[in-house]
């Protein structure tokens, strides 16, 4: 089993015919994901990669193919609308890859989705992969993942791959890996994903990779302390980042105490998470906590 995606996933790709959309649709198919439809306004009727029908609107795609998950590659200025369009037909999981969506668009989208039965992952994220189900809704490299019982949740794409690589080095596979995205306002938080892992029978332990900016890691620490009943190893990067500068991710900026890596590490440590001392120690730390538990 896994969280968010699995063999039942029926994937719609929004912005499917663009360069990125096309490339990653193909990779998702290769991985085994059930990619059933694409949407690009004005390109309805085309067929992508010899098998994916393209529709002009999400509504048409929904009526014809009944997707339950959407993967969004739409350019930043149209991406918020694409999320709303998917939510309005009742798509249950929306994974938005797009980087550079205005933050006001995202607060509007978040308010719109509140109290609705739609989960948004991202934007500005690598997506979700569940190796055991051979299901990928994202842009991570296919071949680094192996089925296993470690859940990974991270604000960063490449660091997730790094974590997966180090897991492989110590012989551990992944239940599901989720990139929640590096923007200041994202759909699913650390806590949201930790809750899912907590309820997931296929996950034994969790790697959580945070970074400077915001205070989502502190909220995660509270959840870990109060409710999570699985071991967590946590890496926080950006300890050597200067204050007041955005480190690539729009959300990775030190603007107050909470945003500091040191504060996040302190919170997670006192919540009982194992702190991964160096980026190179992800694998060994998870190995140790598995032994301890």
């Amino acid at each position: 089993m896994s969280i968010l995606i699995n063999k039942e996933t029926r994937l719609l790709v929004q912005g499917a015919t663009g360069r990125e959309g096309r490339f990653h649709s193909s990779k998702c198919l290769d991985y085994g994901t059930n990619v059933i439809a694409g949407v690009t306004p004005g390109r309805g009727g085309e067929v992508l990669l010899d098998e994916i029908p393209i529709y002009n609107t999400v509504e048409e795609a929904f009526e014809e193919t009944n997707p339950n998950t959407s993967l969004i590659f739409v350019p930043p200025r149209f991406a918020a609308d694409a999320i709303i369009e998917a939510a309005d037909v009742g798509i249950h999981l929306i994974v938005c890859i797009t980087e550079g969506i205005p933050v006001h668009d995202m607060v509007r989208v978040s308010s719109y989705l509140r109290n609705k039965d739609t989960i948004l992952v991202g934007p500005n994220c690598p997506g979700v992969i569940s190796p055991g189900d051979q299901c990928k809704v994202g842009i991570m490299p296919n071949d680094i993942h192996t089925p296993g019982r470690i859940g990974v949740v991270s604000r960063s794409g490449t660091l997730t791959y790094e974590a997966v690589f180090q897991l492989t080095m110590v012989g551990l596979g992944q239940s599901t890996c989720v990139g929640i995205g590096g923007d200041p306002v994202v759909g699913s938080s650390f806590v949201d994903i930790l809750k899912l892992f907590n309820d997931d029978e296929a996950t034994d332990a969790i790697i959580m990779i945070g970074e400077i900016g915001g205070s989502g890691e502190q909220l995660a620490a509270e959840y870990i302390k109060d409710e999570l009943n699985k071991p967590v190893a946590s890496l926080i990067v950006g300890q050597s980042a200067p204050a007041g500068r955005r480190m690539g991710h729009a959300g990775a900026i030190v603007t107050g105490n909470d945003a500091l890596a040191s504060e996040k590490i302190k919170a997670l440590s006192s919540a009982g998470a194992a702190i991964i001392p160096r980026p190179g120690d992800i694998g060994v730390t998870i190995e140790e906590i598995l032994k301890d538990n």
Partner: protein, 389 residues
Amino acid sequence: MKLHEYQSKNILSQELIQIPKGTVCFDPNAVYEFADTLNGKVVVKAQVLTGGRGKAGGVKIFSSSAQAKKFASSILGTNLVTHQTGNDGALVSSVLVEELLEIQQELYVSISIDSNCKLPFLIVCAAGGMDIEEIAQISPEQILREDIDPLFGLKEYQLRKLIKLLALPDDQSDSFRKFLSAIWDTFQKNDFSLLEINPVVITSDGRLLAADAKIEIDDDAIFRHKEYQKFDNDSEKDLVEKRANDLGLNYIKLDGEVGCVVNGAGLAMATMDIVNETGFQPANFLDVGGGADQQKIVDSLRIILEEKHIQAILINIFGGVLRCDVVANSILEIEKEYPNEIRPFVIRMLGTNSEIASQILQDTKLNIIMVNNLNEASAKIKSFLSSEI
């Protein structure tokens, strides 16, 4: 993008929010001229994109135009060091000259966005003119926070609550209610990520003005605001940073010895931390981006190699869409440009075509040190730099 006070006030006044009479001046004579229209009774404020300028002597009150001019002369073109700048300080290339206000009351108002609750929030404080952090410590009961539903806007009952805190007389309550509505509309309409007005001044003749203003615009939303293109505050950026940004690189210049070339923001931060482990420091943050091509890698390497204080280069690539062989070929290309480069390249490459990349790099004469993992990378950097010193 951070805006200068004068730019911020320019936007506010367009949105019908009152600001003091004033003008931005780039030379002392202009200061004299404008101050003279106010009989020399002015405040002169250094325009820098950093806080703490008041305490650092960047804001002064005058009662003669000559004195105002003299102060402007002394500060224009210099670097102002505040507790928020580094030791280098921030260049003062303009000053804002404004009328003096007869202050009856000062308030604090700000709007920004909370990442956790995913909502904009308004902070109002009955005491203005001080750091909000200070007030939060001294008298937190004077501070009220209201989250704003971005689809619904500020609600009447929220406005009532905020206004009650301030215990203003009726007519000023009404002005302040309109003021709060206006700044929320402005914040949303103009894609601000921060709007801080500290202080809002109520003058003894009953005017309500934004006496200071700090605005940050969401960089991701600039595309829909052509009017912001005139705010080119890049002049205050480091030249190398500016060049890198112009090339489409996510580059931040730092003070250390180890140049970093990385794909992915998270991995780039991790790479900085790896360098940090060694006791040495990263010379930069650099994310070449997910869709980088050979040109971008070459550009990145060139920018780093031209920084002569850099003593070693750490290349950390997790190949996905960006293939490792492309990175290797970029290194060969740069070798042609810099045939005499002797600084070491510590390289960790994983993922797509990493083995091809290793083969490609076998024949170069550059000082290439291939490593297999992050800990090995930091060990190699450490041993090299330690031996150098």
